[in-house]
């Protein structure tokens, strides 16, 4: 198993892996539906669904952001092929998160929602993160990648900002026990730090190589 993982999977294996990841990404949703039908979503089901969908959006986002560091450290590249699917699943759970908030939490009371967004920085950064994710999801198709060319990459660097906002959104949610958001902040800093490290290291390297 380990040997087959370290080797680059072939096309058939990649599509199997993709299928597996796709199924795994649906497990949190399936679980919520299961718990819902068994009246087992805690005393505050709306909060439960909000927390759960929010967590999985953040979790999948961090996994997505881990693909490049894996490449940088190990030289392995095949996992990059999972990036679009994972990114879209992040957006999928973010959508469920927002729908829960707008529908189940606020029952489409737009006045209260507007007040909530403008008066509470925590909601504002979460809302901003979601709005920034919309264009990324919209430009995730091959056709859009081709059409936007170099701008596509620039646009999709927004994901770093989205991740930072998402962690802040979570951090400001907790009253006093910051251990969990702190963990995600550390993971995010590590994932971004690895990128910065390799970028500067590569730049230094290319500088130090004498031209001739």
């Amino acid at each position: 198993m380990l040997r087959s993982l370290s080797a680059t999977p072939n096309k058939a294996q990649i599509s199997r892996i993709k299928g597996l990841v796709f199924a795994l990404c649906l497990v949190p949703l399936a679980r919520l539906i299961w718990l819902g039908f068994h009246d087992d979503l805690s005393a505050n089901p709306v909060e439960f669904i909000e927390r759960s969908t929010g967590f999985w959006a953040l979790f999948i986002l961090l996994v997505t952001l881990a693909l490049t560091p894996i490449k940088l450290i190990s030289g392995r590249v095949w996992q990059i092929q999972l990036r679009r699917m994972l990114g879209l699943f992040m957006f999928f759970y973010a959508c469920l998160h927002i729908i829960t908030y707008v529908w189940l939490d606020f029952a489409f009371n737009w006045l209260d929602i507007t007040k909530d967004i403008t008066k509470h920085p925590r909601i504002l950064v979460g809302f901003a993160a979601f709005m920034l994710a919309v264009p990324l999801a919209a430009t995730s198709t091959n056709a859009m990648v081709r059409r936007l060319r170099n701008n596509w990459k620039k646009l999709h660097q927004l994901v770093y900002l989205i991740a930072i906002l998402a962690v802040i959104h979570f951090w400001w949610l907790v009253k006093k026990d910051i251990r969990e958001p702190l963990l995600y902040a550390v993971i995010l800093i590590a994932l971004l730090g690895i990128r910065v490290y390799y970028k500067t290291a590569l730049a230094d390297k290319s500088k130090s190589i004498p031209r001739d």
């Binding site: 679980r31 718990l35 505050n44 029952a107 509470h120 907790v174």
Partner: protein, 344 residues
Amino acid sequence: MLIHKKSDIIPSEITSKEVFDNRRHFIQQAGFGMLASSAAILSPALQAATLNSGTTEGAGRLIGRANTPPPLTLRSHQKITGYTKSTYGVGEKLTPYADVTTYNNYYEFGTDKAEPAIQSKLFKPSPWSVAVEGEVKKNKTISIDEIFKLAPLEERIYRMRCVEGWSMVIPWIGFPLAQLIKWAEPNSNARYVEFISKADPQEMPGTNIPILDWPYNEGLRMDEAMNPLTIMAVGLYGEQLPNQNGAPMRLVVPWKYGFKGAKAIVKIRFTDKMPTTSWMKAGPNEYGFYANVNPQVEHPRWTQSSEKRIGAGLFAGRIKTQMFNGYTEQVGQIYAGMDLRKNF
């Protein structure tokens, strides 16, 4: 005997006590997306530990490990007899017992709301005594048994509004705090009364983590404390307080946010100065001394103009939060002339 049979499990495979004890925790937190689940997935070692906790559970029992969970009915469901029903809150739809006892903000037993019901099982609310000190004629203590006989017990159905934007309707059993204050005999210097909760690291695992400045303390101005609405609760739903709800005695001040209701009170101190409460220390710009329910004063994190009623169902939406949680008639006059925006 089974105990002497050579185990075919190597020691390294046996789940550590900590992991074993927390196994329910792991499962429960997985969906909420708490630390455990993410750590478990991110770190293979931890993941293995979680898996092991399931597979070696039977083996643990076989070799007589001492960490099997305690019996679930340690003290719960002890009926209270001889209380009268009051007219407070008659007609309000009660929050189901299961919700009242499984959704608790009680950081001494963990910061997740589901934790107190689980982590408080080993808590011992009896024997118990409450010390009275400060600006009093003389310091004294009173046992919980004496407290039960101090004044006639009555049921009061009160709304409880949490600062986090949710609310419940709870049938408390208790007596007016004024009765206990009368017994305590404060002197004329007493302008405030402070309530100090138990903080025992053995029985209350949350107090090992410096999330709040333990022990938890809360306070009231004397006129607030003497108001007939303010009660010391010793029970709910006809039975003695479950541990996770603040056994054996807690404060209930229905026109204030829930955190004012100090639980598991061990000390009552009368002072001439306004006490600085745990939450005031933790977030001075978020939690004030008065903490009156007030839909006009916004909180930096939560909407205070509306609230989610626990138990109302997935599609119930929110209800409007009322000034003083709907108890203006009884308490409004206490704050006449006070700027409640400043004194939040």
